[in-house]
């Protein structure tokens, strides 16, 4: 499991956003986290995705405490947790095609021709060849978010944090992406933390397993 244990974290000194927070993300399941804006949901997402070092407390990955954040974490631990953010546009390099966006984490791991895996990911997330060859400004938010999801799961992370992943999307694209995440949970045993302020969405997505802040 992925666990935040007694985590205290924040941005300005003396003003903790998370105060001794304990959250567990079990493998092979979707756990929802609901709460109003400003309550620290995204900070927790960053801490669990090893992008931000907590002031105190630890993040545990399958029972092993992880020290540090970002590049100070060994690559095999870092790629064990994927994250998808609310806004796809600022999350991609505008000069890359979607194919490059999706394959970036694979190329970064030294796989020089990751095209078979990219093909699998495209099929999983509902992108096609023609879409993969477009630039971010040539696709809609929904299509770009599909690419961001494909990129996040490209290295087969054991855990996936979806931080308001569908906040910008229409109902149909939302339902489609939630279905994709469901397939990962069922087929690859991925553990998912679905963060949103939209409780009806989380109840449909995570069943009864929703933490309310």
């Amino acid at each position: 499991m992925l666990r935040a244990r007694e985590v205290v974290a924040g941005y300005d000194r003396g003003r903790a956003v998370l105060d001794r927070v304990d959250v567990v993300v079990p493998p092979g399941a979707v756990r929802g986290l609901a709460g109003p804006s400003g309550c620290g949901k995204s900070t927790l997402a960053r801490v669990l995705a090893l992008l931000q070092r907590p002031w105190s407390g630890t993040v545990e990955l399958d029972g092993r405490p992880v020290r540090g954040a970002r590049y100070s974490v060994p690559a095999e631990l870092r790629t064990a947790v994927g994250i998808v953010f609310q806004q796809p546009r600022p999350a991609v390099d505008p000069r890359m095609t979607l194919r490059q966006v999706v394959s970036e984490p694979l190329r970064a791991r030294g796989i020089r021709r990751p095209w078979r895996r990219v093909g699998e990911l495209a099929e999983l997330t509902g992108l096609n060849d023609e879409l993969l060859d477009r630039m971010p400004h040539e696709v809609s938010d929904g299509q770009l978010q599909r690419a961001c999801l494909a990129r996040a799961v490209a290295p087969r992370p054991r855990y996936l944090i979806c931080d308001e992943m569908t906040g910008m999307l229409d109902a149909s694209t939302t339902a489609a992406l939630v279905r994709v995440v469901g397939e990962l949970v069922n087929e690859e045993g991925t553990g998912v933390l679905a963060i949103s302020h939209d409780e009806p969405l989380l109840l449909a997505w995570a069943g009864d397993d929703v933490i309310r802040w």
Partner: protein
């Protein structure tokens, strides 16, 4: 008798010419849009991102980039002394008589539309000076109160405001000159549900005061809460419109049905496939008639689909290609 509309769009189309090197046709952003907005109505324009909703709003306000060309007519206050045809009006007319004065705009992600180095009060006061010629802080406070902001809240800089408060400042700015039409472009994106409800209720109150509200949104729950009328847009075209309750309760067009069935509380089933590229719509329509055909459960040209992309009126409702049986 029905009141005369505030806004009347007749066969409005918007195209964007891309660079010649792209080898693709123009982008069909809006095609033959027919929209009526009457006093007391909240018209929700719904559809997935990239379907042309925001372009439609920008076209009405003369805010499109220079590579856009526009066809059709859009009258503000048609049939009255104050009638203005928006699409052929000069920038001078739009700037001096329309924007802010008769059509208020609530922009998407309000926080980025506020000047970061000035307080909310300062920005509202500037809008008062510009649109009403003078400012007294009593009316600023009164307007702020109407949108649920306390005078003390106005002393804050944009980065000190929460998303919901920034959105309310933007709503207040749009209301300074008491416009008869308010266009709200995705006013609830990024807000949590209680704040969405407050912002949409604010728009509903405007309609209660006999203003017309054009609510552009992909959030069906927000649309359901406040809209009196709804227009569903897909791939540049309005495919269905009518009174909100009837359309949401008994949708005729398969895309409307698909959107409603995709809501978390109504099955969570996505519409299969992708919307077509906006550069390929002309070809698609030539081949199939209706632009939704690639994702539609019905066979093109075979009942219930008649393969005609034009919006046809049936009583108070309109639908394209899929007439009610």
């Amino acid at each position: 008798m029905q009141e005369p509309p505030l806004l009347w769009l007749d066969d409005m189309s918007v195209r964007f010419e891309l660079g010649r090197s792209r080898g693709s046709g123009p982008v069909h952003a809006v095609t033959d849009a027919r929209v009526r907005l009457s006093p007391g109505q909240v018209l929700a324009l719904v559809g997935e991102s990239g379907c042309g909703k925001s372009v439609l709003a920008s076209a009405l306000l003369g805010l499109l980039p220079s590579n856009a060309w526009i066809r059709g007519r859009a009258w503000l206050h048609p049939g009255t002394d104050e009638e203005v045809e928006l699409l052929s009006s000069s920038e001078h007319v739009l700037a001096r008589r329309v924007r802010g004065r008769r059509i208020g705009l609530v922009p998407q992600s309000a926080a980025t539309h506020l000047t970061p180095v000035r307080t909310a009060r300062d920005q509202l006061a500037e809008t008062f000076r510009e649109l009403r010629g003078r400012v007294d802080h009593g009316s600023v406070d009164e307007l702020a109160g109407r949108v649920g902001l306390a005078p003390a809240d106005l002393a804050h800089y944009p980065h000190e405001l929460s998303g919901g408060m920034a959105q309310r400042v933007a709503v207040a700015s749009a209301l300074v000159a008491d416009p008869s039409v308010v266009i709200a472009d995705e006013p609830t994106t990024g807000l949590d549900r209680p704040l969405v409800d407050r912002v949409t209720d604010l728009l509903g109150e405007l309609a209660d005061r006999n203003r017309g509200v054009l609510l552009i949104t992909h959030d069906l729950a927000a649309a359901k809460r406040v809209a009196t009328h709804v227009a569903v847009m897909y791939a540049s075209r309005v495919v269905e419109s009518g009174p909100a309750e009837e359309v949401f309760h008994r949708p005729w067009h398969p895309y409307t049905k698909g959107l409603l069935e995709a809501m978390p509380e109504a099955g969570f089933q996505p519409v299969p496939g992708h919307p077509p590229a906006l550069t390929e719509l002309a070809e698609l329509e030539r081949e199939w008639g209706c632009v939704f055909c690639l994702r539609c459960p019905d066979t093109p040209g075979v009942a219930p689909c008649n393969g005609d992309p034009a919006l046809v009126e049936y009583g108070s409702r309109s639908v394209a290609a899929h007439p009610p049986c």
